[in-house]
Structures are given as structure tokens and as C-alpha cells.
């Protein structure tokens, strides 16, 4: 009888103690406002730095002369698991050599289908594309997610195909 009463009291006190322990943890955090981890997103945009390897979108690199390195070999198109890259190429007459040469007309990229798996960048033999760090892709119209990556009037950089 006495034993069971002692056990009962121990149970109650032990339970209360465990509850107080839990309250100590939360109590610590409310009394230490410095521990707050929330970041106010649009306000901290200036200090927000994405990591170099962050995979946000596929971009086609252009240099200052508006030249890119894409030869239109469609290796990325083949490597893409979701069909998010479409390359439309055309044969252009090269005035110097007089031969017809393949050149990209449109490098179409469907962001809505892309899973950022990095396989296209891996497959590119000329390092023409890379992953961009932009992550704010929200738009109001789905068609805006499809974009042509090569800038108008851009050309293949010389020396890439050699």
C-alpha cells in the first residue's frame, strides 16, 4: 500500500520534472532572441549569396562580343531526361570557306520541364552551357517559362570547333 503510494507520488513528480525540462528548452529560446533564425527574404536580397554550384536554371554563356560556344551538336538535347532542351539548327553558308556549316538557330529551353539534374552541362563537349544561380522563376504565365537562350544576333565563338 505504502509502496504504491510512494510510486504514485514519484510518478507525479517525475512527470512534472520531465515537463519542466521540456519547458526549459523552449524557455531558453524565448529568452534568447539572438537565436532567431528567420531570414526576411526579400529584404536580405543584397546579402543573400547563392553557392557557386547552385543549380537554378540552364544558361548559355555569351561573351562580350555576343559570341557563344554552342555548336549545335545536340548532345545536351539527347542527355536531357525530360526533353526540356530543343535545339533548332540550320545550315549556313560560310562566306570564307564557301561550305555550308551547321549553326544553331534557336536554343529553346523549357524551364517548366527542367529538373536541374545537371546532365546537359555534363554532356556538353564545348562547355557552352552552365547552371545559373537565379532561383526566382515564378511567373504568371506558363508560356513565359519557355525561353530562347541564344541572344539575337549571337554567333559561335571562333576556335570552338577546332
Amino acid at each position: 500500500m505504502i509502496k504504491s503510494i510512494i510510486k504514485y507520488i514519484k510518478e507525479v513528480l517525475g512527470g512534472l520534472k520531465s515537463l519542466l525540462k521540456g519547458m526549459r528548452v523552449t524557455g531558453y529560446y524565448i529568452s534568447h532572441p539572438k537565436e532567431i533564425i528567420t531570414q526576411q527574404y526579400p529584404e536580405n536580397k543584397d546579402t543573400l549569396k547563392m553557392f557557386d554550384r547552385f543549380r537554378g536554371e540552364v544558361i548559355l554563356l555569351h561573351d562580350e562580343n555576343n559570341e557563344h560556344r554552342c555548336t549545335g551538336c545536340t548532345a545536351c538535347e539527347v542527355a536531357c531526361p525530360n526533353g526540356s532542351i530543343e535545339i533548332i539548327s540550320e545550315r549556313v553558308l560560310n562566306p570564307e570557306t564557301g561550305k555550308k556549316k551547321k549553326e544553331i538557330d534557336k536554343f529553346i529551353y523549357h524551364l517548366s520541364m527542367c529538373t536541374m539534374c545537371n546532365l546537359c552541362i555534363e554532356s556538353c563537349p564545348t562547355d557552352a552551357i552552365k547552371m545559373g544561380r537565379n532561383f526566382e522563376h515564378a511567373v504568371f504565365d506558363r508560356s513565359l517559362l519557355t525561353s530562347v537562350l541564344n541572344r539575337p544576333g549571337s554567333k559561335l565563338a571562333p576556335g570552338v570547333e577546332d
Partner: protein, 362 residues
């Protein structure tokens, strides 16, 4: 006594007299009722707005977040914005719901908490309804609220709502006992059920300090039981978000949902106010026997601040519970009441009665 400088009865008496000089007895009564009603409605709305904001902020700080920050300075207008959103929302009623009861339920709940509010003494003389069985009145009125919950659960024609409502019924009926008995422990000391007298009896010191360990135990039991009675976590089985999606108010939207929400917070305020009144001396300032100058400084703080301060403290404790503990299961909830709180409470009353008989309190 010095702290009578903030006696509100002077003000209320003068208003009463000036009204009397203007009109007849019935007209005075009606106009006074209207004034009190308007004051309480305003208090109701303001308290609701503040408490919701405070709850969200405190919850956020417990969780290392910032909480609402966008609307107004530090998100102060957030609840107002929410209110506007709720007002503009379409009130939906489920098919085959009992429309009359469905619409009635939130009002039952809110009227119950409104009536309970009347008996709370905010400061000396600032007391709408100083009934001589105040404690009894409050425990009786606050159990009407469960009718609203049951109605809501039944009328919604939703199985989750029904389970939630039934849980709530079982819960509130059980925990009424503990709330009543823990208050009774202090009534043994005061010898009166009237709130003004309970407060007067604490002029020398609050019961939680003067009543030895039994008073402390009673206070802890009161905290637990009142948290359960207001359906707040860790006893929020009636709405149990992760089990019953939202429990009895799953099907409510718009302003009717807001009523449930408001009633929850007002109920929390009411039980905290009762706890503050009975255990922590209501609007009585903090006094230490020998420290005259300290007591004098304390007296200059208006009693209304003391009252709201103590209430806020208890509300904070209840929020602390909610944001720390996991939820109980329904059978454990009833086990806690019938196997732990009730026996401890009964023994506690006996001990307290013994103390009073021997005169072993300060």
C-alpha cells in the same frame, strides 16, 4: 489605505448619480446596461485582436521565428487584416447540415464566454456583476460553452467534427470538477464565493504565498485543468489538427469560424483572469509585510495594470504549455483527470481545511 486612490467606485457612483438625476429608475438601468454592454463588446474585440497577435508572436519566439512581420510595424495589424479577410469570406454550409444548429453553435459559445466575462473584477469598483456566488457563477457559465462545441460538431454533418465534439464533451465535463475543486481550496481560506471579497481577503498577501503548499498545488491543478477546459494544447483534442484536421470547427468558415477562434482566446483570458483573481490577488498590488517603501511604490501602479499583468502572466504560462508539450490521447486525458488530478485535489482540500482549522496560514 493608500492603494484606494485608484478606487473606480467613485467614478461609477458619480455616473450612476448623474444618470439618476436625469431620468427614471428603469431608464437608468437600461442605459447603464447599454453602456456596460458596449464597453464589454469593445473589450471583447480588442482583447481578441491583441491575444491573437500575442499568441502568434509568442509562439514564433518559442520556435525561433519572428512571426507576423509584414502588416504594420512588426506585424501589429496582422490580426486586423485577418479579421477583414474572415469578414469577406463566404460562409459555407455543408450539404445536409442542420442549418439552424450550425448557425447557432458559434453564438452559444461566444455568449457563454461573454456572460462569464461579467463577473470578472478588473479593478476596485470596476466590476460589472459582483454577484455573491461569483466563483460558482463562473464555473457554471463556462460549462455552457461545451454545448456550443457539441452543437457545432453534431450539426456539421462531418465525422471528424462529431468525434472532436464528443471528445470535447467528455473533456470539459471531467475537467470542470478539477477547476471547481481547485478554486474551492482557496474558498476554504476566504470563506466567501464573492470575487470582491476574495480579493479583499488578499490585502495582506496573495493566497498563493499565504496558503502554503496546498495553495501552490491547487494553483498547478487549476492551471492544468483550466488549460484543458479552454481546449488549448496540450489538451486540444477537440480540434487535434493532426488527427481530426480541425475537429469540431472543420466545416466552419468566415465569421463563424472567427467566433470560435475568438471564443477560444476569450475563454483563455477568462480562466487566466479567474486564476489571477483567486490565487494571485486580482488587482491587489504586490506587498511584502515589512518593506513599507516598496509597498508604497507598488501601490502607485494602478490596480488595472496589476490585474492585466497577472492575467498576462497566466496566459503566457498557458501558451508556454501549448508550444512545448505534445497532445494527450483521449483516454490519457481522462486518466489524468480521474486518477491524478481529482484524488490529489480532494486530499489537497482536506489538508487545506486542516490548515485553516489550525490557523496555520499567514
Amino acid at each position: 489605505m493608500k492603494f484606494d486612490i485608484y478606487d473606480f467606485s467613485v467614478l461609477t457612483k458619480s455616473i450612476h448619480e448623474s444618470l439618476n438625476s436625469m431620468m427614471g429608475e428603469t431608464a437608468v438601468m437600461i442605459s447603464e446596461m447599454v453602456i456596460v454592454g458596449i464597453i464589454f463588446l469593445t473589450l471583447f474585440a480588442v482583447l481578441g485582436l491583441i491575444l491573437v497577435y500575442v499568441e502568434r508572436k509568442i509562439c514564433a519566439f518559442f520556435q525561433q521565428r519572428l512571426g507576423p512581420m509584414r502588416v504594420g510595424f512588426w506585424g501589429t495589424a496582422q490580426t486586423l487584416a485577418d479579421l477583414i479577410k474572415l469578414l469577406l469570406k463566404e460562409p459555407l454550409i455543408t450539404k445536409n447540415a442542420d442549418k439552424f444548429l450550425f448557425n447557432l453553435a458559434p453564438f452559444v459559445l461566444i455568449i457563454a464566454s461573454f456572460m462569464a466575462m461579467a463577473a470578472i473584477p478588473f479593478a476596485k469598483g470596476l466590476h460589472a456583476f459582483d454577484i455573491d456566488i461569483g466563483v460558482f457563477y463562473i464555473t457554471a457559465i463556462s460549462s455552457i460553452g461545451v454545448v456550443g462545441v457539441l452543437l457545432a460538431g453534431w450539426a456539421s454533418n462531418n465525422k471528424y467534427s462529431l468525434i472532436g465534439a464528443m471528445r470535447s464533451g467528455a473533456q470539459i465535463i471531467s475537467y470542470e470538477l478539477s477547476v471547481g475543486l481547485s478554486l474551492l481550496t482557496i474558498i476554504v481560506l476566504t470563506g466567501s464565493l464573492q470575487f470582491s471579497e476574495i480579493i479583499e481577503s488578499q490585502r495582506e498577501g496573495w493566497w498563493i504565498f499565504r496558503g502554503h503548499i496546498p495553495a501552490l498545488i491547487a494553483f498547478i491543478i487549476f492551471l492544468i485543468a483550466s488549460t484543458a477546459e479552454t481546449n488549448r494544447g496540450p489538451f486540444d483534442l477537440a480540434e487535434a489538427e493532426s488527427e481530426l484536421t480541425a475537429g469540431f470547427h472543420t466545416e466552419y468558415s468566415g465569421m463563424k469560424f472567427a467566433f470560435f477562434f475568438l471564443a477560444e482566446f476569450i475563454n483563455m483570458f477568462i480562466v487566466a483572469a479567474i486564476g489571477a483573481t483567486v490565487f494571485l490577488g486580482g488587482w491587489m498590488p504586490l506587498h511584502f509585510g515589512a518593506l513599507e517603501s516598496f509597498n508604497a511604490i507598488m501601490d502607485f501602479i494602478p490596480p488595472i495594470f496589476w490585474f492585466f499583468g497577472k492575467t498576462a502572466f497566466i496566459i503566457f504560462l498557458m501558451m508556454w504549455f501549448k508550444w512545448t508539450f505534445p497532445r494527450l490521447r483521449i483516454d490519457q486525458l481522462l486518466t489524468l483527470e480521474w486518477k491524478y488530478l481529482l484524488p490529489i485535489n480532494l486530499i489537497n482540500i482536506l489538508v487545506m481545511a486542516f490548515f485553516v482549522l489550525m490557523g496555520w496560514y499567514f
